[in-house]
């Protein structure tokens, strides 16, 4: 029972109904190449003016540099974008920023050192804030590039 085919949504035993706002393993990213750029772009299913507050966390391993990865984004899809980042471990991958795609979807950007070849991480999310509570976050597209914007 501890091995699941899908990502896992956790439901609390008490308070605030039965939304599952802590979700683990919603998207996995793996690379074995240093070619293609140092910016990784993860487009989400959150659009502008949807009023969703998000905590998004990357957890993984930069094998090339032998360092763990744990970094976080926070964002609010107000009628304009509000966002922040924090990096718990440094050197493996960096939560670099959040921007709006041309279709006004939120895109979360991760950077890695250029020498990285083998690396992987997974995304966890928390949607416990008063607005956007229990949002079913998804990564709808992902790309790698040499520029800070892609979508």
């Amino acid at each position: 029972m501890a091995n699941f085919a899908n990502s896992v949504f956790f439901y609390r035993q008490t308070n605030y109904g039965n939304f599952g706002e802590y979700k683990m393993g919603i998207y996995n990213f793996t690379t074995t190449s240093s070619v293609g750029g140092n910016y990784y772009h993860f487009k989400s299913n959150i659009g502008l003016s949807t009023y969703i507050m998000t905590y998004l966390e990357c957890v993984g391993h930069n094998y090339t540099l032998a360092v763990p990865i744990r970094c976080a984004f926070v964002s609010y899809s107000y009628f304009y974008l509000i966002a922040g980042v924090q990096n718990y471990h440094t050197g493996g991958a960096t939560a670099d920023g959040v921007y709006l795609a041309s279709d006004n979807s939120l895109v979360y950007r991760v950077t890695v050192p250029s020498t990285t070849t083998d690396m992987s991480f997974t995304f966890n999310t928390v949607h416990s804030n008063p607005t956007g509570y229990g949002w079913n976050f998804e990564v709808t597209a992902a790309a790698r590039s040499n520029s800070t914007t892609y979508y």
Partner: protein, 174 residues
């Protein structure tokens, strides 16, 4: 009903089963596949999303969360808060580690990995249960969830938050 349709229905049923398995009944407790060490097996090393907190009020600044862990429980536990302090535009990831034995609470470390919330302190309530205290300079539209991690000693109970309140002072409340 031909074989193709039966096969399709079976596939749908399997997919539904997988979906149901991913939506767990509460509380979620995850145990290790294997255990080593001298303290016996521990089937529930992680208890995730045991409680969620959210508020739209920026004040009061202190929050007290009373647990079901007694001062004589003889347990070593870490509680962790993970979430988003919107008012301060910061992530939340902080933890309280403690040990209770013989009527005493031992603070075994508090860590603030992100800046949106501080693991401010811990104390025993007047009826002998562990209370953890959190602090932030503003809680405007803040939300987080608690996870629990169990250290040594055989432990089968659910870790629970039994009461919570915001106060304006850093002292004991419960």
């Amino acid at each position: 009903m031909d074989g193709t349709l039966k096969s399709r229905q079976l596939q749908d049923q399997i997919q539904q089963l997988i979906t149901n398995m991913a939506t767990l009944a509460v509380p979620t407790r995850i145990g290790a596949l294997n255990n080593t060490g001298s303290s016996g097996s521990n089937p529930y090393t992680q208890q995730l999303e045991i409680y969620a907190f959210k508020t739209t009020d920026s004040t009061p600044l202190y929050m007290h969360f009373k647990t079901n862990i007694s001062s004589t429980a003889n347990k070593i536990i870490t509680l962790e808060a993970v979430g988003y302090n919107y008012g301060q535009a910061l992530p939340i990831r902080c933890s309280w580690s403690f040990y209770t034995a013989g009527g005493t609470l031992y603070d075994r470390g508090r860590v603030n990995k992100a800046s949106g919330l501080s693991a401010d302190g811990m104390y025993l309530s007047s009826d002998g249960y562990v209370v953890i205290r959190a602090y932030s300079g503003s809680h405007y539209f803040t939300g987080w969830t608690f996870n629990a991690y169990i250290n040594a000693w055989y432990y089968t109970d659910n870790i629970q938050i039994t009461a919570a309140i915001q106060t304006s002072t850093s002292g004991n409340y419960y």
